[in-house]
Symmetry: D2
Subunit: 370 residues, 4 copies
């Protein structure tokens, strides 16, 4: 229980259901003195908003964020920042017909098994709207990270069988197309594929990749709080994610040692550098100064417009055809959510790791006194 | 910091370095009244012991465990159980030549970046010996889980290019061969492959699969403490693991909704059942009554007997050939470690989730009083 | 940092400043299936509302609570319950004159030392309004506890030199007088004393006592998470509390063993009973079946209408006379806050302790399977 | 459960029973680079050792500490430090006669209520020997604090009716007399009092005071993680402590605002100073630059050599006379335990608070990059 918080020192606590009055997040532990306005957060929230392309559900969610506490004269005060987004588009539709039905791929049945009953209007806490709080908290985390030169780039790596060619990688392209792909050449065929799925009432999975440049070295702990594991938990806590890998990831399972080891060489500037980055920026659970690279596997949206075998708690086996319109692909909208979870993880670990050496305590507390 | 503990209610805290006096673990929060003897733990520890096959390093580690506290007349008392294993085979060899060298694929450099210096004898906390504490704690967790009918089966799924054919799956076979593969037919070719790597001074990665039968439904929390994410963190906290997936995992990224959704049907006994299990036993982050299925990608052992580019902190670029003998494959020994982390995760979540319904509180605290 | 949460399994996270838009709390980990409406919470909030007597500041705070999430058809769903109270009486008054002044007894200076600056309008997070979230969360905790027969009684034990005579104890009287004293005979003299302090621009401290009947035995942990210590932290986290004692408390320091030990006798019903209760209901950190008894020392309100030595950050030493009206006594309003913190602590420990015996796990998870 | 750990970033986990093989502690999160040898810890452990005076039980406990991990070439490595003390004086005596008896003032009954049974040899986890781990961990914390000029002075303030006259305060005297009183004039009468109690088979309670000089300002959080509350929990987690107060403490309950407020004046060196210190060094839960002052009330030792009413689980009411020799006063030995818990609390909060301002992050992570 009490599973709605993430982070130890920089901690977000999210709340709200898809069909409740509002959705929100409390960001606790934000350092004092950060310049922060509502628009800093709004810009990031807009990136996850549906209704932006034919590939997202048309529910109109303007998702206007309001800061309720923790900021004074545009600066954070060190006290909790409460953010709220009212649910504007709560259709008055009667959901009672879904009350007893367990939809394939949804958490309806699991919720009933756990709690004995559930809020059957929409997805409840499993709704994609829960991610609003993550993205809002992530916006603040990214603002702090940016001030230390930490830059996170996240994009759709593949949708169904269509994968980005990293040789064509163009960062500027990511938010130029509705699929968040950094390769304009693969976009048209992928869009064609998605249009076919829409017509068929079907949906697609995909792959998201995240790269962190300017990562400070020494972040993460050697044993249970490894940077890798903490990131894996963070990213896997996103509803549709079914797998996470770092660096060479599942490829490493097929490789030999000589293929997978990263050699070292002295850099031109005198620093020590890895010649390759199969480790994906973390060795022994600790950031090693190379860019962090991770990928998340996103399952296809379970809400499809096709006949499926389901169960009605009262009447038993049924054949179910779910109406309405739904996203044929969640991946483009999940890109900013993955980025937010990575940012929240890195910042929290940075704050937790500030006391890892006597030397760092001295920098903050002024060192030995006479 | 303080990253040496795992779990909230059933919590293990491990300590010890490869070349220190001893390795140990404190198991806190174990329910009182469990029958427990040293041999319950020893049996599991023996499964991770090296020196059992040509594919493991020959260091003799009998790893005899001793219970120092928390057990009285063969029953747990509810107080912390301290377990210790003395390091018997600490060779007196001089490690000072490695003091300034950063070995490819090892955490030497990352440790120096984080702490400013390191214990350069062997792997320190990054050594495989740290997993002794995990396996010892996992042995206790599995004993409790077994009493509730939760059974965990873990095995090598693939080594390099050689994968188990699940059509030949034979659970009894797992501990019959040194590779922990549940398919006797693939073992000879895989052994041949490993012998080739040994001769070449090289090593191999591999895949481990874990399946949990009898999993209670309703375990895990809907948002950040999802069963999936908590498992991912647990398994990814093992040194060589670079990727984790649940159910269809990375395959799901390529599928369509109709392919990936699990249909429901009424079971013959009246219960609701999933026809397939692409979800791998968890929906919306909550266990759904189906078997839990996860896979971990293990990178090849970085210690190889081949010439590599490395760096000496003082003299700069060097060509490094590491001597001694090392494991050409870590996968068979990591099988029991993955199983232990899965057991520790499930038990801790079960304990945390005992109060998820008013009904459960009533079962423990006797319900409403007159 | 991240210090705005309380509890592990039943966890509240409070947010909001006295002069911000709103004050709120997120209650996470509430068991599913509890009947809950806004009025359950409103009744408790009304108990801490100022403007109820001449001894409280007249600021009009109707403090109407709104449930934003976590409740569906008047039942808790197991997901986070977000509660909000808008700040209605934010006077537009210019506070800038207080920007550089450090008021005696207030946290102004400490906030500046910690964060580098502060929200100088009112008390910020140190305002009594922060306790709204605690009382709202406590209302839910008490509702659950009540269903298990746990009943908490809290009252003013003393104000300045005037103490309740426990021989006259009358529970019904507590909310009959504005001082929350369970002894109608001491009230008139105490009111007289407070009127004198008001006239003089001065204020008074006092003592609050809390008694918990129907406390389940076995709650609390033997070492660091003792029931006593956890309660002490909870109660001492209330702004004006400077001391906490359990049972005979500070009196015990003057006693001998034979005076302080509680003897045992078999009860008439066959159970084992303590003849006295100097331990205050907890032995070895664990609840022992007797009523829990604790007291909190509350310092006098620092906001007084008298000339005081203070400092202006820019101009140095000043003589300060603070205007406006303030509470001459905070104790009666703090009664419900102490009660809330005790309720939150007990419930959280009850939830954490559900797995302390194998037997309890069996009650929830159905015990050994065939 | 899992209540054997204390601290978040600098965390100790203690284990061991009075009559088990050994007692120990794992110190996790100690910053790397601290010079540390066994004797640094041994010196502090010797301060809690019994058998030093007629007022302590004569059990011979040399309590020799051994460092098992986390230190390399006399420097901490940042990894967990495991410390062990073997129990040398485990008398083979048969304790089975005590198996069913609930001794007044002891935790026997509470343990049985919680766990269903108990280790009936001596006090188990409630034994004073459990504090060995606290003192060992505290020794390391104090060594770090000392390097920042934080100095903790702890002493017996009163025993029964005999109190130290603070006008005679002499720090050097504390460890000169067996009672740990900083006033040599009160010692003879107090010793006389204790000798009388010994003769009578009785015991005494007392008061311990702790003062922290050189406390960094800004430590502690405004709401639930106040410095005061965190200290209260820490000190109240010591077995015999029944009350804690900070600064004017329970006295404040009787005072008026003008008596209790601390005025401010500019110091001669330009800094802002409090003229008095009724707050005891913490305002709004945050350290304010003044010395921290707290007191703990210690109950009389429950083990007395007098006839008492008790209960035998099987035979019912009994009259009990406990044999053997026991401490007539625990206070002098508890002095170092209180000091250790204060040190552990302060250091952990200092580490947790390192990220409270953007400015502090910049000091550690190098600030904005070009």
């Amino acid at each position: 229980m009490a599973g709605s918080s993430f982070g130890n020192v920089f901690r977000i606590t999210t709340w709200g259901e898809s069909h409740g009055k509002a959705i929100g997040v409390v960001v606790d532990g934000c350092p004092a003195g950060l310049h922060l306005r509502e628009r800093d957060i709004q810009i990031e929230l807009n990136k996850r908003r549906p209704g932006q392309s034919p590939y997202c559900s048309p529910r109109d969610e303007s998702d206007k964020v309001e800061i309720l506490s923790g900021v004074f004269e545009d600066k954070t005060t060190g006290t909790p920042i409460s953010l709220i987004v009212y649910n504007k588009d709560q259709r008055s539709k009667d959901y009672s017909e879904m009350q007893n039905i367990y939809r394939p791929g949804h958490a309806d049945h699991a919720f009933d098994l756990k709690y004995g009953f559930r809020d059957h209007r929409g997805g409840g806490r499993s709704s994609g709207r829960e991610t609003i709080g993550r993205v809002a908290g992530g916006a603040i985390a990214k603002k702090i990270l940016a001030s230390f030169g930490v830059e996170i780039t996240t994009y759709t790596k593949a949708i169904g069988p269509f994968a980005v060619d990293m040789g064509n990688f163009d960062k500027e392209e990511i938010y130029n197309n509705p699929l968040r792909m950094p390769d304009s050449r693969v976009v048209p065929a992928t869009e064609e594929y998605l249009r076919g799925l829409i017509k068929d009432g079907n949906s697609s999975g995909g792959l998201i990749e995240c790269r962190v440049d300017g990562m400070p070295a020494g972040i993460g702990e050697p044993v249970f709080d490894k940077l890798d594991g903490t990131l894996a938990r963070a990213v896997m806590s996103i509803g549709a994610v079914k797998g996470v890998e770092i660096g060479s990831g599942f490829e490493a399972a097929k490789r030999t040692g000589i293929e997978n080891n990263d050699f070292y060489r002295m850099g031109t500037g005198g620093g020590i550098q890895k010649v390759s980055n199969h480790a994906g920026g973390t060795t022994g659970g600790i950031s090693d100064g190379s860019p962090l690279v991770l990928r998340a596997a996103v399952k296809p949206t379970p809400s499809i417009h096709k006949m499926q075998h389901a169960v009605d708690k009262e009447s038993g086996d049924i054949d179910l055809m779910i109406g309405g319109r739904h996203d044929p692909i969640i991946v483009p909208r999940a890109v900013i959510v993955v980025e937010s979870m990575v940012a929240l993880t890195i910042l929290d670990l940075m704050l937790l790791n500030m006391g890892s050496r006597m030397e760092y305590l001295e920098r903050v507390y002024g060192g030995p006194r006479a």
